[in-house]
Symmetry: C2
């Protein structure tokens, strides 16, 4: 169970939101589920990150009341803060994925034995 750091958290959260709007608690569960239990992003990592993404304009937000089944229509129930990926967030996700891929590529090259082979494959 890997606790995600900011860079990976951002990538993963934006990726979840690319599938459609969601909210903190659900995103956290989605990350655990989608990663088959390997990734973990807890509340203390999630909410500051979401606030940051909001400030950066990568997501837009709205509050919505959670209606209970047989609830009194006048009762004020639990609230959810929904996050929606903005066009800017969309572009940022693409950038993050690209940056991630480049990092992989550079690290692979770095770690590869110093063959200097410049193999014609790829």
């Amino acid at each position: 169970m890997l606790n995600l750091k900011q860079d990976h958290s951002t990538l993963v959260v934006l990726s979840v939101l690319a599938d459609g709007p969601s909210y903190g608690y659900a995103i956290s569960k989605a990350i655990a589920a989608k990663s088959d239990g390997h990734f973990k992003l807890t509340a203390s990592g999630m909410y500051p990150l979401l606030t940051k993404l909001e400030k950066q304009g990568l997501v837009s937000t709205s509050w919505e009341e959670v209606k209970a089944e047989g609830a009194d229509p006048d009762a004020s129930g639990r609230k959810r803060k929904w996050y929606t990926l903005s066009p800017k967030g969309r572009r940022q996700l693409d950038k993050h994925i690209e940056a991630h891929k480049q990092m992989l590529h550079l690290l692979d090259n770095f770690l590869a034995p110093a063959h200097t082979s410049t193999s014609p494959s790829t």
Copy 2:
């Protein structure tokens, strides 16, 4: 020019030391060269990291005087602190590489379209 964070720094520094003993300044230059100028690990990141690796027993150290060409044999010249990868450091490097590869694999799966295909490959 990417400034390396601790995880990647550790991986990259141990990797450089796997090619043979070296010292801070040279490691920094080697990282820039070996990454074709893409990775940067500056003094303020390098020395605390090397100290940490030493404390963890991943590297062993020794001081050596840099002899100048026509220098007075009695003159005390510049000093270098050499770092040598320990057997434990060797094993740790392998672990880091494995962890890195697993992270790639997990992130790729996460970012892949939600096909739910459960393809029999791999």
